[in-house]
Every structure is written in C-alpha cells, then in structure tokens.
C-alpha cells in the first residue's frame, strides 16, 4: 500500500467518525434551535469542525512534502480525486437545497442554515478527497 493510499484510508475512517460525531453532538444537544441560541454549543461545533480540518491538513500536507513517499503518480491520483470531491459537493448541495426547500417552504429558510450548509460541504469535500484517492489507486491497479 502506497503511503498516500494509507493516509487516504486513515482519512476516510477518521472523516466518517468525525462527521458522525458532529452529527450526533448536533442532534443530541438540541439541533438548529440550540445552535442558534447557545454560543457555547456553537463553539463546541466550531471546535470539532476546525479540529477535523486540521487533522486532514496534517494528514495530507505532511505526506506531500516527503519526496520519498509522494511522487508524480501519487500527485496525479491526488489531482484526479478532485473529480470525486466535486461530485460529492454537488450531490451534498443538491440534497441540502431539496431538503431545506421542502422543509421550510412556508416559513422561509432560517439564515443559520447557511453556516451549517457551509460546514457540512467542507466536511463532505475533505472526506470525498480521501475516497477519491482510494478510488484512484483502485482504478490504477485494476486498469492501469
């Protein structure tokens, strides 16, 4: 297993745990209404969010700066993972648009959702990058 492939696997596992943890904390603490009113809760979510992003940054930036572990083949796979990221982000946004429109059609969408949509989109994007890298290795090993 290539070093970047191993990092992507760790990133995917971490990303799933991270996203699930954020969703569980968000729901158990009261959801959107608490998020709107309670600054302490918002700071917890911010901390979890930024902490996860920093973990991703460390996972991938450190490997790309080691020439012995990251070469042109890894870079091409990493570059191609952007396609998976785009698809995941677009699907996520489509889901949010449809979900929010149908849920809040009568009363109007609360502005706080802009913040939540942005956070979730970044989470989806980072997790999808790991998935895209793993798909890239799998496809290269299968098809060449």
């Amino acid at each position: 297993m290539a070093p970047l492939q191993r990092r992507a696997l760790y990133g995917l596992v971490f990303g799933i745990v991270w996203a699930a943890a954020m969703a569980v904390v968000f729901v158990l603490k009261g959801g959107v209404s608490t998020f709107t009113e309670d600054q302490g809760f918002r700071l917890i979510i911010d901390g979890l969010w930024i902490g996860g992003l920093v973990v991703y940054l460390v996972l991938f930036v450190t490997i790309t700066r080691q020439p012995a572990k990251f070469d042109e083949r890894d870079k091409s796979i990493m570059d191609r993972s952007a396609k998976v990221q785009w698809c995941a982000v677009i699907l996520s946004l489509v889901g949010w648009v449809i979900g929010l429109t149908e849920s809040y059609w009568d009363q109007g969408i609360p502005p706080i959702f802009m913040y939540i949509v942005f956070m979730s989109t970044l989470i989806v994007s980072t997790v999808a990058q790991s998935a895209g890298i793993l798909i890239g290795y799998w496809r290269m090993n299968r098809n060449g």
């Binding site: 290539a2 572990k69 890894d74």
Partner: protein, 70 residues
C-alpha cells in the same frame, strides 16, 4: 489499454539485480511506482522516464517502447 511497454524488470536484473527500492531511490520516485511501471499499470512522465533511463545508463527507447495499434 496502455501501449507503452517497458523493460525495467529486465534492466534491473541486468544491473546486478538492483532492487525496486534502490531504483526508486535513484530515480526519485516511490517503490510503488516502480511496481506499477513493471506491471504496465502506469506510464511515467517524460522526466521520470529519462531519470529511469539515466539510472540504467541506456537510451530512453531501450527502456520504453511504444507499440502501435494494429
């Protein structure tokens, strides 16, 4: 299907059975890339191709051959 073949495995053995790790270190790539090259699952950049040829001390076309579709 990739129709660029290479003789990296053969050249490694002709050069005192050079290991994949050693070739990777000398060419500036990872061992996984050498494995992918030998299995015909990756076509390198021109730069890496020249580096590999230089490690073996041969011309580029002695390492890589382009096969036309028939």
């Amino acid at each position: 299907m990739v129709n660029i073949k290479n003789r990296i495995r053969r050249l490694r053995f002709d050069n005192d059975e050079m290991t994949q790790e050693e070739l990777a270190n000398r060419a500036g790539c990872t061992r996984q890339t050498i494995i992918a090259l030998e299995q015909g699952k990756y076509v390198p950049s021109i730069e890496l191709a020249f580096k590999l040829a230089r490690v073996f001390g041969v011309a580029l076309e002695d390492v890589f051959q382009y096969e036309e579709d028939t």
